[in-house]
Symmetry: C3
Subunit: 137 residues, 3 copies
């Protein structure tokens, strides 16, 4: 059970979600199972009705950083949702929503994008993560 | 020594501190020893005179997110300090303040909430963490 | 390969970069190889022409936190770049720029501070990280 990557996604801005999706894809490409666990504002970004919206960036991105990200989108770069979908096709990537954050945001699973596989508690996530890597983004 | 969770708390907003406390509790519930290491604005949030204050949330929380967090508090949700206290009762959870951050903020241990067990340097933390998980929040 | 620390630096503010440099130095002091991987706004902070600038702090630092950081600099505290250089002298610390973020920011390696050893993709970073620790800052 130790050779897994647990990705706790907390932040809901496009830059961090893209960084997370790329890490998931990189791990999947090396054959490592990936458990993605969605909390707080990251979970909010996976609402079906909002998933395609602009979710902004970290404050430090500045106008220059935001413009650079927009230019990549115009040039056809895959979105974080597309990159995460590709990671699921490459390897063993599961996406679970944190049950406490579901309560916080008054969400049911049908409110979420279908890339989300289910809802679980933090103890279940920690059990799956075992002694593997845990990365908080 | 590998089967431990090292939690480096850097951020001092209530949303991240709650996420951290829940991870600590989840790890403790699965029998994993947890080493919490308080730096920068997370350490600042553990000042005895400020620990019960509103510490805000990540900028991306927005008005909707802040309102959701406030609603949970009104409904009686445990604060991050209470959740971390419960984690200490469930399992082997220690809370250490980073000595460099103590200097930065001109703090002595008596300035901190009694949940903090002591003060140590980063090399001591890294030694305790061994090859276990390290999560930066 | 498991006994390594992979540090993914995403954030480009001085407080997080200092926390990262201190973790790298602490790991190096305990004999652990460290792979630093620069993405997004952290990579931007390593531009040769900007590396010495004030890169701000997390929004939650507040005026009090910013003043505390400035006071340490005036008192002669090593900058994050100096701390990271010291970590490279102490132990096996490599600093790689993420190729995707290089594209995002239209950078070539000669645009970066010489502390950066090279440019690589995320799959190469994940392969080097193996089953070791991965910390996202």
């Amino acid at each position: 059970m130790s050779d897994t990557l647990g990705l706790v996604l907390f932040s809901g801005t496009d830059d961090k979600l893209q960084a997370a999706a790329v890490l998931a894809a990189g791990a999947a490409a090396t054959g490592k199972p990936v458990h993605v666990f969605l909390q707080y504002w990251a979970l909010d970004a996976f609402r079906a009705e909002r998933v395609g919206r602009d979710h902004g960036a970290a404050p430090e991105a500045g106008a220059e950083g935001i413009a650079a990200m927009a230019a990549l989108r115009v040039a056809g770069q895959a979105s974080w949702l597309e990159t995460l979908s590709q990671a699921k096709e490459i390897g063993a990537v599961t996406v679970q929503a944190c049950s406490l954050s579901m309560d916080l945001l008054h969400l049911e699973q049908e409110d979420l994008d279908p890339i989300v596989d289910g809802v679980e508690g933090v103890a279940a996530f920690m059990f799956e993560a075992g002694d593997g890597q845990i990365v908080f983004i």
